[in-house]
Symmetry: C2
Subunit: 209 residues, 2 copies
């Protein structure tokens, strides 16, 4: 879908407020005010609040698929090197799209078969298959251990990053980093998450220590 300037303003406002307050917590009047448009424009352009949420997903979910295509064929990288690229890719995407990921986390908790629940499921499945292919390739060639619970490893990847994002204020406080500039902190968080997760995966997957 292509969106006009006004529609994009509404989607941006909705993304922000849905992320902070949740779907039910953010009213259409809140969103309209944030986007600096009339309330009726939301129904006019998107039909309903529900459909606006779907538009947010439509607009954002394109950019969060992991890039696996060229990775499998790449013969310059070791097996663990490929996994590392995927980890960096995931951490980057999560940090750059924090608001949208917060919305996904929230929606995931709701036990309901909405269209959005389906979208999230497909997205997670696709990302899981990316990692699975990489790991199984490494297993076939003896570089990785057998008997790896790939879904559980994925759970640790997703869970650690999610938890870091939702509790970043806590991380700041516990490390006395409250003085730090926001941009600088995001960089630090990205770097530390990357190193931490790469270590976890290497230790869990790799045969050689």
């Amino acid at each position: 879908m292509e969106y006009s300037e006004k529609q994009i303003a509404i989607i941006n406002a909705a993304e922000k407020l849905f992320a902070i307050k949740g779907f039910d917590g953010a009213s259409v009047r809140d969103i309209a005010h944030e986007a600096d448009i009339n309330v009726a424009m939301i129904s006019y352009y998107f039909g309903s609040k529900e459909k606006l949420m779907e538009a947010v997903f439509d607009a954002r979910s394109q950019h969060i698929r992991l890039k696996i295509e060229n990775l499998l064929a790449d013969d310059k990288l070791s097996h663990i090197g490929k996994v590392n690229v995927l980890i960096d890719d995931y951490v980057d995407k999560f940090i750059h799209q924090q608001e949208f990921h917060r919305i996904m986390m929230r929606e995931q908790m709701i036990e309901k078969d909405t269209p959005i629940a389906g979208l999230i499921h497909d997205l997670k499945k696709r990302n899981l298959e990316s990692i699975r292919r990489l790991i199984e390739e490494g297993q076939k060639q003896g570089a990785f251990k057998k008997n790896i619970d790939i879904v559980l490893m994925m759970t640790t990847l997703v869970g650690t990053v999610s938890q870091m994002i939702t509790a970043q204020h806590f991380y700041k406080k516990m490390n006395n980093l409250e003085h730090m500039e926001e941009v600088e902190f995001q960089k630090l968080m990205r770097k530390r998450l990357s190193i931490h997760l790469k270590n976890l995966f290497k230790q869990s997957l790799s045969n050689e220590q």
Copy 2:
């Protein structure tokens, strides 16, 4: 606080619906219907919906503090053995109180200085200090590596378990376990989480492999 039978029924209903639908998504009429009482009883007993949420926290948060007291003094357990006990304790409490933990996750996302945000912060800090003491003791005696980001390890513990709970349907599906009895699946999940996290911690903390 001590609660009457009716009050407990309301708290149970509120916990359930807040966990599924979120604070804004669950109406007081929903909760009243679930608890099989008149709507007015919520205001009568708790004052407001907000205060009812606080009562849920008051009633539940007592049981989710990690037991560290006897653990530090125990000289029958190795350092990593003590960490393992703490991991099992955490996994057990999370799984047994899934609904309440879902509420905590949701509340953690809201960027607001509510009384509940303060409660969660204190709880997390206390749990963090438990793990920190255990790890620093191990470091002092040379059993554990130096330069461990304890907050990040805690993030992986909390994040992995949280993600497993919120996406357990996905885990089921990806492992073709949809046929399995619910109680049986909870046991399996508990067991696998425990093994997985113990491995992660051992590899990350321990000097000997």
